[in-house]
Subunit: 131 residues, 2 copies
DNA sequence: CCTAAATAGTACCAATTCAGTACAGTATTA
DNA sequence: TAATACTGTACTGAATTGGTACTATTTAGG
């Protein structure tokens, strides 16, 4: 199947939940709101944080909040945060791994076009659109 | 990672190879042309055949050929042939499985928009474009 | 009619990836 | 200083994927 990770799906749910957060919202509360298990939320937040999509605040009254306005955060951002660079195949420029057939392959480089088209599509939908 | 199966990648290579085939081209020859192992090509062809993307001809002088002009077959077609319906999440309409959180989920149905955008993007690139 | 070429269907296995969990550590506030 | 909540890392069982094997069926040609 051609699909995103379940975790990416959850991540969008989390992001949408954070839209309604004025102050920092702790993982525990996000878990309650969304029905996603607490440990899973916890894991997700780390990825979202590293990608700069949310801000964190430790200690009592700590928690997470969106790092940018909801209409500036795209689905592409979330996918990249959770799954790494978007590379439909290993032949694509920014892929982490390398294609074994690259040397004698007939479609060399052509996937870049496809990849770009998909990324563009994913950049057009924002967290605000998902609310 | 957000990516298509390796087999889908191979499938495009196979399809591109078939563009230059006037008569039916056997799996074995496709394997030689592309460098993809024969058994793998064999498996692929079954999927492509079931999806109606290629025609087959058995017996001596048999083989495969494209079922439509190269500029009418899209990347979306190939992905669907190899991986089944394109459903970025299980919350998407035409998905085969069902989302566990559906009942109380805040982004219910919103993924349909994303899915549609991606499919549209994938339909814009054809086999001819990959040649 | 027989044989070789080639597809068609099914089932299997090893390796990877994924989803979910656990736990010890650190920062912050009251 | 105690309670809260994030941070980092690492582990596991389950699912998926990539690749292979084998048998059956169809077709062309001698
Ligand atoms: S299959 Fe990777 S370069 Fe062509
Ligand atoms: S996560 Fe599937 S319906 Fe929302």
């Amino acid at each position: 199947m051609f699909k995103v990770n379940k975790l990416t799906d959850y991540a969008t749910v989390v992001m949408v939940d954070l839209v309604s957060a004025d102050l920092a919202r702790p993982s525990q509360k996000i878990a309650n709101n969304t029905g996603i298990p607490y440990p899973t939320v916890n894991k997700l937040m780390k990825d979202l944080l590293h990608a700069g999509l949310v801000r964190s605040h430790r200690g009592i009254n700590g928690g997470y909040s969106l790092a940018s306005p909801a209409n500036k955060i795209t689905i592409a951002d979330i996918i990249q945060a959770v799954e790494g660079p978007i590379a439909l195949t290993s032949c694509v420029n920014n892929s982490l791994d390398k294609c074994t057939y690259e040397d004698f392959c007939a479609v060399q480089g052509r996937w870049n076009r496809v990849n770009k088209a998909v990324v563009t599509a994913l950049k057009k939908v924002t967290v605000a659109d998902m609310t």
